[in-house]
């Protein structure tokens, strides 16, 4: 394969011609069918591959308070007033017209001042002088006669009495933000009504409304500034520079996507989020049962309430069956104890045996498509509720439990930062994991290599996070319950801090890999193919949830399959990958036996 593009086409199955090369085709089917040696090795490709190729420049944002916004507005007005030698009110009219872009005002003004004046309604020569000796006038709105001092005009010569102007502006303000571009009351006149005239006439209440619209216009008309979507939050966020992810954290603590203003959704893109949200709305009636917080124990059938964040559920005595909330399988089938493969994230279509007639097949397909969606939706939704629970736990930790822990374990609070760090990480990872399910739902079924890699990585991420979540939730509890320092607290610290750091790295890399749409997966696959190696393999011994094929790394000769395997630490049970640590446990530092 010469190029990445070609590779992707081939794997997306868009062009059968790409498969003309028999050798390649064989390679592919071999990879899926063969029952080879050291099959674990194929899954060992750590995310190191992605770090160099997909690290993106940071996107930079500034969070703006109301005061910051007003200050920016004042600065813009001052600049324009200065450059164009016009009044601040006129500068305001221009800035609002050109969406608060100082440079645009400048450019347009100096390109064609006359045209700009006509468009925004700024008259060059006030038409005031011609009525100098008038003592009284009839207002053309109320038809009353008023002394001349009570008549006002916005420099266009259209005099109306103060009461009528006030009523006119009041009506406009109460009609909405259009009051910011209000024009003269004479229907044939386009003269702009600036903020000096507005604020000089209307009531305090109207002044406040007008100022509010003025503030909002800076954010709402400006493509580089948006309000934080959190309810009640008054901060706005300004985009400064950079490309890539649009996720950011507001000063109120809410994290959201600057682009679509949905909650933060790395690693999936805005379009996928949008599709997914629409899908969820469309299916919401079918899915209500999923959100129920109770399921029957798979062993004793009694209803079990999920009241913890992690997915490891233990039935109440005497049953005490330990199972996975998501797949209802025995917990012993999860995680390190079975060799590091966590596979309840995987969706497998029901076997379609003995489906004969077309109608039945259609029904089966419809059922499958709902089942498939249900699978992803449940995991998405459960991770979301797990995230909210973790967020609440984090707050509880910060407000009460850290102090308590500090008392019991005789540790200064400053030494307990690892606990809140762990919880912060859990919250973030639950969020990422949640969105990987939307990613998985939309990852085309025919992109097998990607799917396998994705499911494997997601499974690992989930397993790692479960370990972390469980450690922070359950193991921490034992140290909160005692009344004197526990000698193993330092071991616990090492373990939790280690899990936090490993999980953080794993998720960061997962996010990057998914954001690059797993493009490197195809490259490494390509390398396998062209090298004509037969290392890629699957295993028929593998249990159902396991990837049947994986790709090996590019230029794999220097790192054999053996090296890429997992090994479980005897001391702390953490499953290390040889890619990151081949001889010493990354968590506890215990040497590999």
């Amino acid at each position: 394969m010469e190029s990445e593009d070609e590779m992707q086409d081939a794997w997306a199955g868009t062009s059968d011609d790409e498969f003309q090369n028999e050798e390649e085709e064989d390679e592919d089917s071999d990879a899926l069918a063969s029952d080879d040696e050291d099959d674990e090795s194929d899954y060992g490709f750590g995310f190191n591959d992605f770090q160099l190729s997909t690290r993106r420049p940071q996107t930079i944002f500034t969070v703006l308070s109301e005061q910051d916004i007003r200050q920016r507005q004042d600065e813009a007005v001052a600049t324009i007033t200065n450059f164009l030698s016009i009044s601040p009110a006129d500068a305001g009219v221009l800035l609002r017209h050109f969406k608060w872009s100082v440079s645009k005002v400048n450019d347009e003004w100096f390109a064609d001042e006359e045209r700009v004046r006509a468009n925004v309604g700024l008259l060059e020569k006030p038409a005031t002088s011609k009525r100098k000796n008038v003592k009284e006038m009839t207002c053309q709105i109320c038809f009353e006669v008023h002394p001349f001092e009570k008549m006002k005009e916005p420099r266009c010569g259209h005099y109306f009495c103060e009461i009528c102007w006030t009523g006119y502006i009041h009506t406009a303000i109460n009609d909405g933000p259009g009051c910011l571009t209000l024009r003269c009351a004479d229907p044939s006149c386009g003269a702009a009504i600036g903020e000096d005239m507005v604020l000089g006439l209307v009531s305090k209440e109207d002044q406040q409304k007008y100022m509010r619209y003025l503030l909002r216009s800076y954010v709402e008309d400006n493509r580089k500034v948006k309000w934080c979507p959190a309810p009640g939050c008054e901060y706005a966020v300004e985009y400064q520079a950079g490309v890539g992810s649009y996720d950011l954290v507001c000063k109120c603590g809410f994290s959201f996507c600057w682009n679509c203003r949905e909650e933060a959704h790395r690693p999936v893109d805005c379009e996928t989020v949008n599709k997914w949200i629409l899908k969820n709305c469309a299916e919401s009636e079918n899915m209500n049962w999923i959100l129920a917080n109770s399921k029957p124990c798979p062993k004793c059938k009694r209803p079990i309430e999920k009241n913890q964040g992690c997915m490891h559920i233990t039935c109440t005595p005497p049953c005490k069956f330990e199972f996975c909330w998501l797949c209802l399988g025995a917990w012993t089938d999860h995680g390190e104890r079975t060799g590091g493969f966590y596979a309840c994230n995987r969706y497998e279509t029901a076997k379609q045996e003995g489906v004969y007639d077309e109608a039945e097949r259609r029904r089966e397909m419809a059922k499958n498509s709902l089942e498939r969606y249900t699978h992803y939706y449940e995991r998405w939704a459960t991770n979301e509720s797990s995230r909210s629970k973790a967020l609440a736990d984090l707050q509880l930790m910060q407000s009460v439990k850290v102090d308590k822990l500090s008392d019991i374990q005789c540790q200064p609070v400053s030494q307990l930062k690892f606990v809140t760090d762990a919880w912060l990480q859990i919250v973030e990872c639950r969020r990422v994991l949640k969105w990987t399910y939307a990613y998985g739902y939309y990852l085309p079924e025919n992109e097998q290599t990607k799917r396998q890699f994705f499911e494997y990585s997601q499974g690992e991420a989930e397993a790692g996070l479960e370990r972390l979540h469980q450690c922070a939730e359950k193991e921490l509890q034992t140290f909160l319950e005692g009344d004197s320092p526990n000698s193993s607290f330092n071991d616990f610290r090492t373990k939790l801090a280690g899990l936090t750091s490993v999980t953080r790295t794993y998720f960061e890399n997962l996010v990057r890999a998914l954001e690059s749409n797993l493009s490197d997966v195809d490259i490494s696959k390509g390398a396998v193919k062209s090298s004509n190696s037969s290392k890629a393999s699957g295993s028929s011994k593998a249990r159902g949830g396991r990837p049947k094929s994986g790709s090996t790394r590019s230029g794999g000769s220097s790192r054999s399959g053996e090296e890429m395997a997992h090994w479980s630490c005897e001391h702390c049970t953490y499953v290390n990958t040889t890619a990151t640590s081949s001889n010493v446990c990354i968590i506890c530092g215990y040497p590999r036996s």
Binding site: I141, F143, F160, I163, G167, Y168, T171, A185, D186, P187
Partner: protein, 162 residues
């Protein structure tokens, strides 16, 4: 369309509105717009106006009736103007009497008067080259069945050439 109105929350005219309307009415009596006649009623807040199709136009010899309802804050807010009974067949006038004319809605200005509205409407009629309902008449009228005021419609103004 009956003359019972459109369920506009009839608030009494403000003092300013009543003063201005009184003056407009006086002015009308002295100097009525050509082709219109104000039908005397006891209400200042609702005017009924006869419209006579201008000579040498499609509407020559025809008579129509406009109903003009004034809001509390007239003239800051536009009056509601509709044709009663059988409205003229015109591409901007719906069979329920609603008129698609910008000055009655978005482009209203308090410096306009009933008289200036009448002149605009007559000019709209006089420039018509075809006697027909707007293409979306059925749908629009169906949507207004619950007595919606034309002021609640979001108008897309038909282009000026009829």
């Amino acid at each position: 369309m009956s003359s019972s109105g459109y369920g506009q929350k009839e608030k009494v005219l403000s003092r300013i509105a009543a003063n201005r309307l009184q003056k407009e009415l006086t002015e009308w009596q002295v100097n009525p717009p050509c082709g219109f006649r104000h039908r005397v009623t006891d209400s200042l807040q609702r005017w009924i106006i006869e419209v006579h199709g201008a000579p040498n136009t499609l509407y020559e010899g025809e008579e129509f009736h406009l109903q003009v309802d004034f809001p509390e804050h007239y003239p800051m807010e536009a009056p509601q103007v509709v044709f009663m009974q059988i409205p003229p067949l015109h591409p901007h006038i719906y069979s329920n009497g609603h008129i698609c004319l910008d000055i009655l809605y978005d482009s209203w200005s308090p410096a306009m008067t009933v008289s200036s509205i009448c002149i605009s409407i007559l000019s709209m009629l006089s420039s018509s080259t075809v006697k027909a309902r707007p293409p979306d008449d059925d749908q629009y009228v169906r949507n207004c069945r619950n007595g919606r005021s034309p002021k609640e419609t979001r108008w897309w103004f038909h282009d000026d050439k009829v």
